[in-house]
């Protein structure tokens, strides 16, 4: 870091890093300058002029916008002079000229920078008697975002966000001068995975969300800080509720993780909490029908089963458990069984990953400080959306990007080198010798590399990505960010041993190996590539207990269904993200009916069965989770609640994944997951439910042409199964490949490693594709 500069602000000497903006330097020293357009995560534009301050120059004092002026040594600044005050009053008077002042019906009122700053710095009265400009009151600019152009003060925060941060500039200023408005192109809605952030940063109530519109007043909201468990990024969030109902989620600026941004799924996939279809009472299957029973009866029936020392118990765990929940299941398995236990995670992409002793694991921030980023993974924009934003940010700052394979289409657009089909086959096999690839050698050899490595498809072998890893490990100074995308996977890694994936589940679990199966927060029948196999395995077992928020295709097969409280806002615990950063999950609202937490359920069951339980409370489990760590660095509640640790604590650990090695399965179908799928939670979150309901596939241009697909619809047929889907012809897919979003309804039912017939609608003869 270069020398500091000294400046005098309002007669006080302050110090700042050079190249900082005046507004930021003042802020760091506790001097607040009002602003609308400036946002510390966006490039400055100087649109609003609210941040005018007086600076002494050789020509005397002049007014400058502090958000576009860099600090200088011995600069003398006045942020409170009469001239500044007059300027602020003037700016506000102008801003209010066309502002409708419909605060009484505005969602923003009460937390509105325009209201607040008008109170603090504005003129007492308006002199404007003319007609204000009018626009149609809110227009839908997407399915989930509304725009009231009358309220807009043209700060360009939303447009800059969509251009600079999320890279999907679908909103812009239209017209000029007094007529300027924010808008979309006709029939090209603001469909962005990150659109909710614009609502959050809009300094007025111009952008609102369908989800929160007219739901509450800010002063009635209760709030708490928590962690999103939607994917392995673990973004810091603030939960808002009113009258015991969760109403809103906001992004919190955690510098190391999400920097204030969250994806729209993380933001809106909470509405299911308030759904009437939530499970409220335990269900027991009798004569093929579920009947409601008391939770005590579940405990007594199941405790009889587990008291029998012969009972063989297995666990299939989802990724939305807290670390404490995982520990409770670990304790349970240790108490009841003599032999070593495996834990099956609900993940069809799970493989051993890269955690060996000689491997340095990367932090998210390493993306910014490395020379190049190398990506071989699932589509990160769909699966770990905010990590995708962090990669974009690094690239914007000049870090080079190398992308392997066709999964990361949007990243390949900004990549310096993209290795497509000639290098990585459509089935994600490396078909060339990595060490002979000239372009990557130039960018990475001897350099600092962050490698984001994971499986791109369930059918790919473990071998190819390993080849890439070995090349990087040998030739570069590389750190690895293992890209497991699902929720609290790293929490499971941290707390459980012998972790396996769904492929192992399919191989291992049978009537012989398992008498009692717990399926916790997982719907593998609904959305994994092993759907059919898992369904028949579960059907064949004696006792299956499903713990979840809703009934779903997997729980339908269970003998007992236990309603549980959601990790989002209904319970406390900890979560560990992709860089092994552990942070707090907090509770804000009560959960309905007889719901219990996963850990409560399993602990009560153990007690009921008369087992000696050492971890009877959440605190016990929390302590147990990190018992191998030194006190000072252990992310136990007491430590996490210290103000300095609110952003979480990083303890890198090397997980024990004992998933078996997989070999390539060649298929013409490439299965991935879209951000919005047909999961039970999205289905019951009204504002986004439709976004995940469309059944469609993407067909490469060559296939579309070859089979004369023109009608827009086709039918997939395999054995008894027939599903009609719409299709899109994709320019980015490699030839002869079909992309299937397997988290869309009915599409998961196919076995994509086998032949499937495709009949284009209106075209009679079937074509065989395998």
């Amino acid at each position: 870091m270069s020398e500091k500069v000294n400046l005098n602000v309002n007669g006080i000497e302050i110090e700042s890093d050079p190249n900082k903006l005046l507004i930021e330097a003042c802020e760091d020293s506790g001097i607040h300058i009002p602003r609308f357009c400036w946002h510390k995560r966006l490039d400055p534009v100087g649109m609003c002029r609210m941040c005018l301050v007086e600076v002494e120059t050789p020509r005397g004092k002049i007014l400058v916008p502090s958000c576009t002026t860099e600090v200088g040594d011995e600069m003398v600044v006045d942020t409170e002079s009469d001239v500044v005050k007059k300027a602020q009053e003037g700016v506000l008077e102008f801003l209010l000229i066309n502002h409708p002042l419909d605060c009484p019906i505005c969602d923003k009122a009460g937390e509105c920078p325009l209201q607040d700053q008008t109170m603090a710095y504005g003129p007492g009265e308006s002199r404007f008697v003319e007609e204000k400009r009018h626009f149609e009151k809110p227009i839908n600019i997407s399915e989930i975002i509304l725009l009231d152009r009358e309220r807009c003060i043209l700060c360009a925060r939303c447009t800059r966000f969509s251009d600079e941060i999320s890279g999907d500039p679908l909103i812009e200023f239209i017209q000029r001068g007094n007529k300027t408005e924010v808008n979309t192109f006709p029939n090209e809605p603001f469909r962005s995975y990150f659109s909710g952030n614009t609502v959050q940063i809009c300094p007025v109530g111009a952008l609102t969300s369908t989800s929160y519109r007219f739901k509450a007043r800010p002063w009635d909201l209760k709030s708490t800080r928590s962690t999103c468990n939607g994917c392995s990024m673990g973004c810091s969030i603030e939960l808002n509720s009113s009258q015991n109902k969760m109403l809103r989620i906001l992004g919190v600026d955690n510098d190391a993780v999400n920097q204030g941004w969250i994806c729209d799924k993380g933001r809106y996939n909470f509405e299911y909490l308030n759904s009437d279809s939530r499970l409220k009472n335990p269900l027991k299957k009798m004569d093929n029908e579920f009947v409601e029973i008391e939770i005590q009866d579940v405990y007594s029936e199941l405790s009889e089963v587990i008291k029998d020392k012969q009972t063989k118990v297995n666990f299939l765990l989802g990724s939305n458990l807290t670390n404490e929940d995982y520990v409770a299941f670990r304790e349970f398995s240790e108490i009841i069984s003599q032999s070593e236990k495996s834990f099956y995670l609900n993940d069809d992409l799970l493989f051993k990953g890269f955690f060996g002793d000689n491997i340095e694991l990367a932090k998210i921030d390493d993306l910014n400080s490395s020379d190049a980023i190398v990506v071989w993974a699932e589509d990160l924009k769909e699966k770990i959306p905010v990590l995708y934003l962090r990669i974009r940010q690094a690239v914007k700052n000049g870090v080079k990007l190398v992308v392997f394979g066709h999964t990361n289409e949007t990243l390949s657009d900004i990549a310096d080198v993209y290795y497509g089909k000639e290098t990585v086959s459509e089935n994600f096999e490396i078909v060339k010798d990595v060490s002979k690839l000239k372009e990557i050698k130039d960018l990475v050899i001897g350099k600092n590399i962050t490698a984001i490595l994971g499986k791109a498809t369930p059918y790919q072998s473990d071998e190819s990505v390993t080849k890439l890893f070995e090349f990087l490990n040998l030739n570069t100074n590389s750190k690895v960010l293992n890209a497991y995308s699902k929720g609290n996977t790293y929490g499971a890694f941290k707390t459980l041993e012998n972790v396996k994936g769904l492929n192992d589940f399919v191989n291992d679990i049978s009537k012989e190996s398992t008498d009692l199966l717990f399926i916790v927060g997982a719907d593998p029948v609904g959305r994994s590539v092993y759907s059919n196999q898992i369904k028949s395995i579960i059907k064949g077992l004696d006792i299956v207990v499903s713990l979840d928020n809703f009934n779903h295709e997997t729980s339908e097969q269970a003998n007992f269904v236990i309603p549980i409280s959601s990790t989002l806002g209904e319970k406390e615990g900890t979560f560990t993200n992709i860089e092994f950063r552990t942070s707090r999950i907090d509770k804000l609202v009560p959960s309905p009916g007889q719901t219990v937490s996963d850990w409560e359920f399993i602990t009560s069951l153990m007690n009921f069965a008369g087992l000696t339980v050492k971890t009877n409370s959440l605190e016990d489990l929390n302590t147990k989770a990190y018992e191998n760590l030194e006190d000072s660095v252990s992310p136990v509640f007491d430590n996490l609640d210290k103000p300095s640790n609110l952003d979480g604590m990083v303890n890198v650990s090397k997980p024990k994944i004992s998933s078996s090695v997989r070999t390539l399965i060649k298929t013409m179908f490439f299965t991935g997951e879209k951000l919005y799928g047909d999961s039970v939670t999205v289905r019951h979150s009204d504002s986004i439910s439709l976004l995940g309901s469309k059944k469609y596939i993407e067909v490469s241009e060559s296939l579309a042409e070859k089979y004369n697909l023109t009608s827009g619809k086709c039918t997939l047929i395999q054995d008894e199964l027939e599903v009609t889907v719409s299709y899109e012809v994709s320019k980015s897919l490699p030839n002869d490949l079909i992309y299937v979003p397997k988290n869309r309804r009915d599409l998961n039912k196919f076995d994509f490693s086998r032949e499937i017939n495709i009949i284009p609608s209106q075209v009679k003869e079937a074509l065989n594709v395998n």
């Binding site: 679908l170 812009e172 200023f173 017209q175 192109f185 090209e188």
Partner: protein, 204 residues
């Protein structure tokens, strides 16, 4: 794509002149204007595809500048200057008479799509005030009678190419400068006549 091959070829040639594709938006919009007489959403989609930015970003640029018309224009765009020099030299009378003759308010187009009328800010001909433009071909020192005569002539002869020099000779008066260069080329559409855009032609 709604642009024919000829236009697309021209567009690609223009794009090559710039180090970054998106810098070509300005001339490409003029090209779109010469094609349809306004910037259609179809053309915006084509340009967005050609230069690799989103449609709304192109729309943002095209609606910022008043020379990119958002509504179809007539065959002749009549722009009468209303800025200070022309105003002092009686441009309001010119405006009145032209409006009277064409029956058009500001920014209106007649039913036959012959004329679009607009009163505009300074067009850089203060020395020859009051000044008028037909499809951006400037005529200076135009009296209100001559302005009407100019309109009549356009209406009767409907020239394919309008040439500044020719109109100046027949309907103009005092000029800001005498360039002493004869230029017999003029505009062929309501986009300004530029050689690179091929929106200009020599009148035979």
């Amino acid at each position: 794509m709604s642009w024919d091959d000829k236009l697309l070829k021209q567009a690609k040639k223009i794009i090559k002149l710039y180090p970054q594709k998106r810098s070509a938006i300005g001339p490409l919009l003029h090209l779109a204007q010469s094609k349809d007489g306004y910037i259609s959403d179809d053309s915006i989609a084509v340009i967005s595809e050609l230069v690799g930015i989103t449609e709304v970003q192109v729309k943002s640029v095209s609606t910022f500048y008043s020379m990119y018309k958002q509504e179809p224009t007539g065959k002749y765009l009549l722009s009468v200057c209303k800025s200070i020099s022309c105003e002092i030299n009686n441009s309001s009378e010119v405006i009145n008479k032209v409006q009277e003759f064409t029956g058009l308010n500001n920014n209106e187009t007649d039913e036959e799509k012959l004329f679009t009328f607009e009163a505009v800010e300074c067009i850089g001909a203060c020395g020859g005030a009051p000044a008028v433009q037909v499809n951006y071909e400037t005529v200076e020192g135009v009296t209100s009678e001559n302005a009407v005569n100019l309109c009549k002539w356009l209406k009767e002869t409907k020239p394919e190419v309008v040439v500044a020099d020719e109109m100046q000779e027949n309907f103009g008066g005092i000029k800001s400068f005498d360039w002493a260069i004869q230029d017999s080329s003029g505009a062929t559409s309501t986009a300004p006549g530029f050689q690179t855009l091929k929106t200009t032609k020599v009148k035979k």
